[in-house]
Assembly symmetry: D2
Homo-oligomer: 451 residues x 4
């Protein structure tokens, strides 16, 4: 009886392979599915069923593809939005046996109407669930977001409350296996810790300490969450099924890049530090590990792309991140910028400034200079620099017209990484007097603390 | 806050790396320690402390080696047997902080006097332990053996009982992280399932269902366990510390093998199937994955060895198994037997026989033929073929003189694998009419069931 | 300017990636093409062209697949057999530039009509070819076979003679890069050495020492070569192009195997040693590394298969070997035979016998016993045991009726490996008194030598 | 008969494993020797001998370590400088047999007095050498440097001339296997091509086109080569032998770095781009892949170091580069600079400027601004910007006092990478008005060309 967790970084997505007696189940597979077949094989098991805990809105499901390759059955909760082409509808109480392992469906709507949890029993050891896959209903340190049906906000928050009671009723002893960890766009309160049980969450998860259904609904309805525009694409793909990922992008030369022209967006997936010192003019900065969280805001799915990456392996990893959220139009990659620069092509830079510089500027306010905070609303509400105006990095492209391009801008966020992304959006928008506060809010607080 | 489990197959030994805030602790490291440094690095953490849950008797500890390389402190429970040269003595209630992670020592004697458990707390999430490293005190489905102090049998069983109460008092919500899984020589009742919690064990672990301290002591004292002779060596090495493992053994040719002569034991680590069809005369059959469980019975630590392996990688894996239990004298390996055979050198074989053949022989009993069951006592007591005499495979070398070498022998076990090992011991002892019942007890039962 | 050789074991097929200036060419890609993309990427190059030195008859070309994924152009020599769907026709003197690298086509017919060689020039270093891809025209220690057009035997041998002169005219300094190494079915005289130059071959290749065109033709026409029946399939696929390889086969259980029934051939890809001691009745023995050479004789392309393999990785490797020669119908695999045996299912065995036993039997000849030599004709002509009758292993299925199934048979070959394959063919044909002379001709000679 | 080439990037060092008949020889092993054992094992061979083509001055030899682990004999040419502790003296004509392979020593002094070449013969194929290991005597496109005995300059150049004749006498057909490729500090004229033969070099290697011994001596004596100071350490270690490399450095936190203080040099091994945008004040910039060429100039062997690296794997690779040239005092690494920056610690930056900016400055010359070219003498002599003063990057620390720290400095080289290193040397020397011309000479020429 084996259990393996697969982390997809950036998305902070967790999927699982569990098996016994030569059979395996996969829970919430991502689009690049090789890893599941490898794990099953290493345990000499055949993948015979696949569960989707809900229709994912933040990533492309690989359930259909994996079913095609393995012949496994896909189970998906009852889905009002329409038929999931590649899945059977799983109903409360439905069970699957894999050797001594028994997987039992609990309908746990709230996050979405089709959300299910899957309780895990060991027939050789007692009647209590030994673990439970909680999907996006219950996380370590948080619960699922309930903002996807704005017109039914209170109803679905209440549904989630009820679902959580059902899950907790499985008992303190059950190990918790959620679909996301800290860093996911599916919840901001998730713990940094990667392991927990229903018992530990019952006692300590802040959302489970709220007293009463009504109070819970009130808290949930008051939450603010961002919805990147690519969520719409995911919802469509995860009904209809998807193609396998495209091949790895190929190396391009400087002339190739130039001849592709301006319709092809240059996405610089190197570190923010490398982007800052020198980059192709008009390129968009999205460091590779930040692709899953920000590409869906800043790039349109139909947009053709070239990547500026460290090297082939780096470009391939970036393309994999893009493919996991349905962005397939990568034409190739440039390995580093030295070929570009030594070919005599122009490059651009953006300065990093430190706390002392920002402080100095704040002490001599000017109408020609403005601090721009691109963090999320929740962060800004927790602590802010009063002089900063706030536009969330993901919404920046749509709000550019509200910002005066004749001013000098210093962009900040939590640490400076998202600020670098935002600076590239500004540069592309024609702002030519932009720098980035490296360290940003975190350094600012350290400095104040120390002072 | 990360947690990784490292399985050492064969030994069914489990060690762990846990960390937070750039620091990591290793629990019960084995002798080949590279894996711990790799895991820590992948999490950008430095190994700052190492815990031994007890002085291991079944494998060489790598704690001293790892401490030397990393500068980490080793913690070991209070040890009546003498000082663990490379460790500090850990006392009940002692704590180590790693970022938000807190590790707290519980003295939990019984299996050994120096047994400790380590409770895991997340300072950011409540006061209850979120997990506990239980060493050899508590396993999934079983508890630690208490046969190492025969003259204090009742006392130490009682100590274990008390220790288990202390562990369970941490609460149902705590995830259980034991030092062994199913297949270990440290307990025969361990579950096949690799994950559990104190709550699930409290409810379902058979040994935790026994009512009362006295009854528990009675049950434990009545248990039978084997102690391979190499345990003595482990106990010595794990007080004094050990050297790093030897280099990988080198390829040898047929002439090299011959010139090494008879003092160098030929250990055939290929599959039992390969051994059966053709092997170097007088070689000992110990399939690679069975080395951790059986080499310690059949080979003396000071014995020089050559391996007959599939290829280099296979030989290296076999040497790693040997090194983990302190057997370092591997002179090299022969890759396959075809070089040997095509050089015109003699080879030997042993036949596999099936259920029908065994049944036929049983139906026509003969004084010249005998069935030999080499399973463990516990297995034999559960179910046996009445016609078989019983000698445990590990004790066979010492009991050869009790068996008539003029008879024809058919060796059996649970499946035929240990029987092949035993057949090689018989062949080396001069028995030249031996075959192996492939399928053995398991096939026999299937057959009877079907019939 | 980089050059990498990719060996496909079993087939002893050699393909190459060569590149400069950010571009790469692939020579004679096999069907599983990931490796070429990885090598190009590691050198930050894009694959812009692909050469086929001839229409391969012994493996499925990956040229069409690779072209689809990369957009590269495929070049293939002028082809009387019809159009190669995915390729352009390459003509003598045609050149491709990759940075400072220049690849120039030489038409070198003889082995096939469409055979080309590709000379390699470094524009930065002189006018002489620095290397040459010789396809199946010239090997290290041998030249291409010329038996594919029996009705034009002398003509094509003469064509090859002329082609070799053209190749040698490139100069002694040119490094030789052939499409096969020792062990290929495309030539029996290839050297064990993996590196050579035109100069070294001119001086030492036995076939290049033959004086005069007429003598060369005479020698070539007199050669004997086997043509496995799957060559026909390769020729067809390598005109039309092929699909990507199938997914890795999945683990099957004992019940799965049984329910697939007898129409699905059980192919035991474990070692001959493992097969010999115990195997599923009626399974065909083809050890994994021998698949490329023998599966094409013994299995029909349309035949559905299950593999008996060591484990998943082993089964996948076997399926890759099968896929490279166009055999795609693998339904799954059984990992080892212990599940089968312990389920109480019947198994079969075949004995290995040694030189002494064979000698003993030869000394007391019997009409009821026969020695069967399954080596190739060339080997038999070089040295044989006069008592043995000869049937080539590949032709055994078709000649079974010529062998008396009432006799006892001992099968031999060069070492015993092919004999094990042959023994499985006999077993499947109803011969139930068969054993294998392990060591075979090689051991026999050693023995005689020693005597 | 197998042959594998192992490249050590940065050093552009080439070592080899060659073998036959179950035995292998290693030529010029580097200090991290695992790769040789792995290659030998993959070919089922035991390493029985090791050749050093000369006493390496640019890297630490692993010959002694490899000999200890394998029992192999080390062969080293006759060495006037003293005894190589771990080696036997190889003499002209001396031979080693490995299966059908024959390795034969040629004394080929000139580069060093103890230089040998090793001709490779295949006993199964003719009398001519099939390949030759040429060490630092003959490279692809260049010959060895002869500046190590300044007082014997003409003598040793003449010795090399004679040695080259001896090597060429092996015949055009011999494949050339040198100890370095393009990028090595051991010669500036090496071709980018990685494969050649004696024939191709005889016809095309510029140094082999020089007519006559006297003219050859004249050319060689006139050459200029740099000798990094660490060469002295290598010469000592490669007489006495060395220890294995240190363990991989551990992750450090910000507080660790600070508490190590100023005596511990901070070496930033990230890309020049990352360094430029933000770095720890007073850190030395040596991008990881440039360590082998520049660390030996800028760091003293006894200096304690911390690395600023991308992550653990990157730091480990950097430490491996350092260890290969004998720099062992790495105390640990910081993974990226974000922890540093967000802790509120100060950071520094250096600007990259483009061709237009440099041109603009050149058009309005100022006594307060100076262009500094840090390329090698040979490069500067080929083409220079007349306004630049020249100091080689490796000699910059010693010549800092000659440069006015009150001026503004723009540093240039071939592309900007060495200029970034030089900028860090200047920053550490107190120059606070420094920027880097990214693109440098290469971009300048492109621009001029285009204009």
């Amino acid at each position: 009886m084996f259990l393996e967790k697969i982390k997809s970084p950036g998305l902070a997505h967790l999927s699982y392979v569990i098996g016994a007696g030569g059979q395996a189940a996969v829970i919430d597979p991502r689009r690049d599915i090789e890893v599941y077949e490898e794990i099953a094989a290493a345990n000499n098991a055949r993948i015979s069923c696949i569960f989707e805990t809900h229709r994912n809105e933040d990533l492309v499901s690989g359930a259909g593809l994996l079913a095609e390759r393995t012949g496994a059955t896909v189970y998906h909760g009852p889905n009002a939005a329409g038929e999931v082409r590649y899945a059977e509808t799983a109903r409360d109480g439905q069970e699957v046996q894999l050797g001594d392992l028994r997987l039992k469906v609990l309908e746990t709507p709230g996050h979405t109407d089709d959300s299910i949890s899957i309780a895990v029993y060991d027939n050789a050891s007692g009647k209590e669930a030994v673990a439970v896959f909680t999907g996006d209903a219950l996380f370590i340190g948080d619960v699922g977001r309930t903002d996807f049906y704005p017109e039914r906000a209170e109803e679905v928050a209440g549904l989630l409350y009820d679902s959580l009671q059902r899950i907790l009723a499985l008992g303190d002893q059950a190990i918790m296996l959620p679909a996301h960890g800290a860093g996911s766009v599916c919840g901001s309160g998730m713990a940094d810790r990667e392991f927990s049980t229903l018992g530990h969450e019952r006692l300590n998860n802040p959302r489970l300490q709220i007293t009463g259904r009504d109070e819970f609904i009130k808290v949930k309805v008051a939450e603010h969450h961002y919805q990147p525009p690519y969520f719409r694409l995911m919802e469509a793909l995860n009904l209809s099924g998807t193609d396998p990922m495209d091949p790895n992008p190929a190396a391009l030369g400087v002339e190739d890049i130039k001849s592709l022209g301006e319709q092809v967006l240059r996405v610089d997936v190197r570190s923010a530090e490398a982007y800052a010192s020198a980059h192709l003019p008009d390129s968009l900065c999205v460091p590779e590990e930040m692709i899953p969280a920000f590409a869906g805001w800043l790039i349109k799915p139909e947009q053709r792309l070239v990547l500026i990456a460290e090297n082939a392996e780096h470009a391939w990893q970036a393309a994999r991140h893009l493919g996991r959220i349905g962005f397939d139009r990568v034409e190739g990659y440039l390995a580093g910028i030295m070929d570009w620069v030594t070919a005599g092509e122009p490059f651009a830079s953006v300065d990093f400034v430190d706390t002392a510089t920002v402080e100095q500027r704040l002490n001599k306010p000017s109408v020609d200079w403005q601090l721009l905070d691109v963090r999320g609303l929740e962060e800004v509400e927790t602590q802010r620099m009063p002089e900063a105006i706030h536009v969330y990095v993901g919404e920046l492209p749509d709000k550019l017209k509200e910002l005066d391009s004749n001013k000098a801008w210093t962009v900040m966020c939590g640490s400076g990484q998202r600020a670098a992304i935002a600076a590239s959006v500004l540069e592309r928008g024609g702002y030519n007097n932009v720098d980035v506060y490296l360290g940003s809010m975190t350094a600012w607080q350290q400095q104040k603390h120390a002072a």
